[in-house]
């Protein structure tokens, strides 16, 4: 057993245990934290596959952003744990069945003759100074620049669509208009009227 194998099994065991913990833990905060742990160990596995950039992205995006938001929501909301756990055992056989089918399918694909290691041998490892990130950047901006730009356009469409569908100008809402506030002059607000001084009689 090489060192790499040991690292792999180490990460894999932690991944499976923490994933099990996510669904069995009684406290949703623990569940979220265990999900963070499983993401981090997953990133470790990707590092073993020499996908450094994806591993870092997983940690930054999922652990750093998505899971923090998730934790916020979990902590902010008053979740009734008993209600949440209702029907767990009722649906457990169904969920377990799906999990078993998934595992069996993956095993059939990976161990079968079509996608096994003899059909698709592992690529030879790169040298230590090889930069995954640099290579990815080079490809995105050269060979895949067209697809990359298209993805950007799709995100733009998503923005336009989201704004078009949700922006609602409410007529009954009274809110200050900053541009009008800035443009205001003292004459608009205050009128100085000349009048004769009054005297107490």
């Amino acid at each position: 057993m090489t060192f790499q194998d040991i690292v792999f099994y180490f990460f894999a065991i932690i991944l499976i245990l923490s994933a099990l913990g996510v669904i069995t833990s009684r406290n949703p905060v623990y569940s979220a934290l265990l999900l963070v742990l499983s993401f981090v160990t997953c990133a470790g596995l990707w590092l073993l596959l020499e996908a450094e950039f994806l591993a870092i992205t997983l940690v930054l995006v999922y652990v750093g952003a998505v899971m923090v938001l998730f934790l916020f929501v979990v902590m902010m909301l008053d979740i009734n744990l008993d209600r949440l756990r209702e029907g767990f055992w009722k649906w457990f056989p169904f969920g377990a069945l799906i999990a078993i089918v998934l595992v069996a399918e993956m095993a059939m694909v990976l161990m079968g003759g079509n996608f096994g290691l003899d059909q698709m041998p592992a690529p030879s490892p790169q040298a230590a100074d090889y930069s995954n990130t640099k290579e990815l950047g080079r490809l995105i901006y050269t060979e895949y620049v067209y697809a990359f730009e298209l993805a950007a356009v799709i995100l733009l469409v998503a923005m336009v669509a989201a704004i078009a569908l949700t922006l609602r100008k409410r007529m009954d809402k009274r809110s200050p208009d900053p541009s009008k506030q800035v443009a205001v002059k003292s004459e608009d607000r205050l009128r100085i009227v000349k009048m004769a001084s009054e005297r107490k009689e």
């Binding site: 079509n114 895949y144 356009v153 336009v160």
Partner: protein
Amino acid sequence: MNTVPPDLTSAYPEIFLLAMVCVVMLADLVAGEKRRYVAYYLAQLALLGCALLTFTSLSTETSYTFSGMFVDDPMSDILKLLVYGTVVSVLVYSREYISSRGMYTGEFFSLILFATLGMMVMISASHFLTLYLGLELLSLSLYALVALRRDTVIATEAAMKFFVLGALASGFLLYGMSMVYGATGSLHVAVVSEAIKSGVLSHEVLVVGLVFIVAGISFKLSAAPFHMWAPDVYQGAPTAVTLFISSAPKLAAFGFVMRLLVEGLGEMVADWQGMLIILAVMSMAVGNLAAIAQTNVKRMLAYSTISHMGFLILGLISADWNGYSSAMFYTMAYVLMTLGTFAIIMILSRDGFEAENINDFKGLNKRNPWYAFITMLLMLSMAGIPPMIGFYAKLSVLQAVLNAGFVWLAVVAVLLSVIGAFYYLRIIKLMYFDEPESFDPISPQTDVKVLITINGVAVLAFGLFPQTLMALSLYAIERSM
């Protein structure tokens, strides 16, 4: 590590359109509520500019750019020009409709142009990645367009159905593509084709991928048994959007099918032929039989679209130049007919009233004989009665099927389209032999009047002289495949 910058010349129309969409969005923001026509005219200008760019650089040979992700060939040029023409007509037809329903906004035009860009990308894609991205660009814009009248429950419901089922279809497509990638090791259409030709790959994996790809395509084409979204979306979407969904995207879908099935997986014709036969027969049966029971015109036309898609697929089954070009001719004919029909529905509607029921066509001849005549031409063409263009479209597809030796298939197709003729003729009967229920004047704008007349006459004229369009599609297919 020097890389050659891609040759941008063949992608000028796409680049120009993208720049113009941004201009439309910004100009609409500056022009404000009072001057919405700025966005309208800029959108038309953008499409005309694209047409000019495509027309001045018509290619006679196939050329690739962007490291083989973008292909420019006669078929892509012709399909793109047809798409521009269709979108221009859609905008002209729908202008009055959207302005009376609070949809006359910059977003409407920018989303339509984004969808057009997606169609152009699909038409000239030669890489699975760009095929998929173009499709998503088109679909996302369409989902948003359907939901644009978010205060209408029926439109929101239609948009939800469209979105969920469309996402499912995209998933199917991607899964199939990933299987093909797994087997061939490439996403380039040409390389995939070469790899399959070599014959050393696992046929099993390829067929699994093919099944999912065909399922995804038929979702997008709204071919039975993956047609469930079409009637709800056609009925629920604002008519202007229905007009758009039912016309231009079909041209793009034809291009998409040609690139994916014929260019990429053409070596597996023996496998997909059978699948397409099932799809074609089911579409024609479901479309024509279900349309009879509809009382809503938009729903009826949705089922009619399904049956037309069955015919389109029929053209692909023979898997030769004749078949492909007849399918292309059929697509052009279908787009011409559907544009006219939805335009008629829109001019019959007015503010606060949607002419959606077939009874709204009652006595149209007494209200306006000219529009009744044009509707009759369109309905006869849809039913496939000579000398309309729809007849020649059906005829050329059936000839291709017969040449390929599927006599029973041609018989089934003819029988089903005879059944289908019933609901088209019913509209003609309502228009000419029934008393009108309302005498509201029908007075569209002049540009709509002119275009609708051209559209109706074209259905007849191309039916009398179908050679031009047929030669055009044959040229496109011969030079590109």
